[in-house]
Assembly symmetry: C2
Homo-oligomer: 506 residues x 2
């Protein structure tokens, strides 16, 4: 690859030069949702972040196999071990649905919302129920290696033995083995039971409420928290792992995936671990639990944000504005969703898209020579890529792109001399805007969202602009006022310039 | 239920009154696609047909659990037994993808195209790979019951023994047992191997090319043609089965599903078997194989039809026109896709939607009394439902709806006396149009397709209509001509009437 890509590896706690296992190929894995409820905005941020990673790796020329799982069984609810229940089973019972009906509903809505946010579909979307056989095989391997034991038909991971034998446990979270071992016996037991692999035996008393059940060598039961990493073994070129956003650096279920892989095959499942950071709402963690003082919960769904049907924000924010907003912060930083920040993002997004429209419409009128301005543009263009190669720094890349926006607007107005830009640089500028906006950042022109309506809207607007121009030429102020008022009603803004009149959705 | 629903049962070869197993509940199962290529138009017809069945059952008040599987392993290619290969494995190898990448790609495109056709998502979409454990269990049950045997690690269904023991085989296709048994030994062997359940053993020589492999009690291998009906056992109220369109009445793989279910549990998997009929293209079966004379293939994809990018039709046909076209024929009849038929469907579809727009905009101006006209309307309204209750006869229901369209247009023009219609009937008329167009037939207004553009388009059109009206009042023919020409370019037609000017996409 032409560019050197640096990735912050959570395992080593430093930026490392990315070196794929197999030249030109990357396997990336992102923890997908547990489909027992609709995806929330925090998840959306994670999936948008890693959508940009996916897009950028492809932009760099890698052939990427992007795997994002759907957890449709095995995500246990609550802390207590004895009563722990599968989240999907529980919710399905409450809603009087088959577990797989619930799964279908939320999988479809997950795809729908991620589609609205213009994320690309992953290469493979494995389900947990689709890998029962493999999970049982993996548990058996771990049992064979002595890192698990059977109790009442359930299989538990033997964490103390694993800690003693391997210096791996705790590496990701930064906890030292001695600290882990010095934790009270009870704590360790709880942690061990709570977070490590199991195959849970179902006894007769739980039969009726648990429709999801499979035979295993140990009992009839269901898998709980078994590593997804298994899939990765089948993926050549596997190199990057992108788990879901976590609240802090301690990621117990990823520690356990590492432990399970070591337990089964004695190897580290992946080389690069990436972790996104959390999304706040008005400075606080999102939570559906109502505040005792105000009685209001600090929570909003993606659709409430897009539609404006909420009491938190002053207006609706379109999916592309939200996506742009997310890119304005680095994936490893917390991001605070506020009205001011969204308003600013909306402005920024439209400024970027407008500048791109202007740029793509500009004809090259220079004479082919490269001057100081051309050199400056080349430098900025290179910088956009450099920032992205520095651990996918989208906010810095965007900042450089906005430096270029200023240049573009000045070029258009003639305040900067196109004579100082070679045609090659001019074309590279156009290409860079196009590639970064559409291909890498995955933004799209909002008026193009309704694909069918678009051509018609453009056509009608052209007609209206023509009529208005004629009316003004004829000093027919009645008609031009009527047009102004009607467009204002529709939130459409006209902009007059030397080149003619353009319009934007305001 | 208020209405008596009749369904043509392929098993009994007659219309039967539908009686659900569990009052108020229906389980329906539709054979979904094998996701090794994009869905073709014939499949689309089937899924649209059963989408209407699903919608109508819900309209009648049933709680419907609609299961439509995704076959992602086990669909063998070709007739020869020894070399038979899994379709997905083979295609994936050709395209140098993981089988599950191929599956993901075509599952997403399948959902996309069915979404464009406005079909509802089923309640559950089980995959074959998601039910390996269950398939192995079922094979074991059949083995235990003596209706299968093991050979070289593969399990085969024992068709001759099953035919001898049960009078069920051949019932669906109408073949007599004696005929089946009198077939030459070789034929029977081929049929048996080709079409019945197996768990195929993979030997070392095929190891490398077959990534999809699971351990079974008999060998490491993969399932082939195992019954999907297994899922149905878990569905309370299971009553209707809607397999994929077949070319004729002989449906070997459904015979085999019945046989497998009998073999495993001695019961018929479903009570009502429904089979759709095929879609022709210009009077001939669709086929990708080029005609030896013309060198052209008789085939078109859904997207080619919608976009107009094809050499077969004179223009693009929108998804809603295609859907309407499909409803104009009964699901058990063959349907011929021709330019003339599509042009007619387009006209019919727009006439229906336009009449609905008119009707929903009409205010009731009668005096509450019911007269002869009101009685006639009531009769027609009842008839729409009756036709649908007669084995989902969409063409006849549509015909009655078009009788009502004529009435609506006459009511609007004042050629029919609203004074003879009670307010209750008037409202029922509105409700019927709404329910049948949107809820049951699943049609939608095409201008509403681009959801975001819609409000804007309406607003801009209103502005343009106002300007045009004023221009005409001022005898400003220049402006009104300009508007006419621009709208013609955009394929928009204005219609002037007493009530004002309306517009349609032409």
């Amino acid at each position: 690859m032409e560019h050197e890509l640096k990735i912050y590896n959570s395992l080593s706690r430093q930026k490392e030069t990315f070196e794929p296992l197999h030249e030109g190929h990357v396997g990336m894995y992102v923890c997908g949702p547990t489909v027992y409820s609709d995806v929330h905005l925090g998840n959306c941020r994670t999936f948008v972040s890693f959508d940009v990673v996916y897009r950028y790796l492809m932009y760099l020329g890698y052939k990427v196999r992007y795997v994002r799982n759907i957890t449709d069984v095995g995500h246990l609810e609550g802390d207590a071990d004895a009563d722990a229940e599968d989240k999907i089973s529980k919710k399905a019972r409450v809603e009087q649905l088959e577990p797989m009906e619930l799964v279908q509903r939320h999988t479809r809505s997950f795809h729908h919302i991620l589609g609205i946010l213009n994320t690309l579909s992953p290469s493979i979307e494995p389900t947990a129920t689709g890998h029962i056989v493999e999970q049982i095989q993996m548990v058996q391997e771990i049992l064979d290696n002595g890192y698990a034991y059977i109790k009442n038909g359930s299989v538990y991971f033997n964490t103390p033995k694993f800690i003693k034998d391997h210096g791996v446990y705790g590496k990701l979270s930064g906890k030292r083995v001695e600290d882990l071992l010095s934790e009270t016996r009870d704590d360790l037991k709880t942690r061990m039971k709570r977070t490590t692999l199991r195959f849970c035996h179902l006894d007769q008393s739980t039969d009726e409420r648990h429709l999801m059940r499979w035979p295993s060598p140990w009992s009839v039961g269901f898998p709980a928290g078994t590593s997804n990493a298994h899939h990765e073994h089948q993926i050549p070129g596997q190199a990057v792992r992108h788990p879901r956003r976590r609240d802090g650096p301690a990621v117990p279920h990823h520690e356990n995936e590492i432990a399970q892989n070591y337990g089964a095959c004695g190897c580290m499942p992946v080389r690069y671990w990436m972790h996104g950071n959390m999304l706040l709402l008005n400075g606080r963690k999102m939570s559906k639990t109502p505040d005792p003082e105000t009685g209001k919960s600090n929570s909003i769904t993606p659709m409430e944000l897009f539609s404006g049907e909420n009491e938190i924000f002053s207006k609706p924010y379109s999916p592309m504005v939200v996506r742009f907003f997310m890119l304005q912060s680095h994936y490893r930083s917390t991001l605070d969703l506020t009205d001011d920040a969204l308003l600013a993002a909306e402005k920024g997004f439209r400024r970027l898209m407008e500048a791109n429209k202007v740029l793509q419409g500009l004809a090259y009128t220079g004479k082919g020579q490269q001057g100081a301005l051309g050199e400056e543009l080349e430098k900025l263009i290179g910088q956009v890529t450099e920032e992205m190669c520095d651990d996918f720094n989208t906010p810095k890349a965007l900042a450089v792109l906005f430096d270029l926006v200023t240049k573009v607007n000045s070029l258009k107005d003639g305040r900067l001399p196109i004579g100082e830009v070679s045609e090659e640089t001019f074309n590279r500028l156009k290409q860079t805007f196009h590639d970064f906006i559409y291909e890498i950042f995955g933004l799209k022109d909002e008026m193009e969202a309704g694909s069918e309506g678009n051509g018609i809207t453009d056509g009608l607007m052209q007609l209206i602009i023509d009529i208005r121009q004629e009316a003004r030429a004829n000093k027919d102020w009645g008609t031009s006022d009527k047009i102004r008022d009607a467009l204002k009603e529709l939130d459409i803004v006209l902009k007059d310039s030397k080149e003619g009149t353009s319009w934007t959705k305001g």
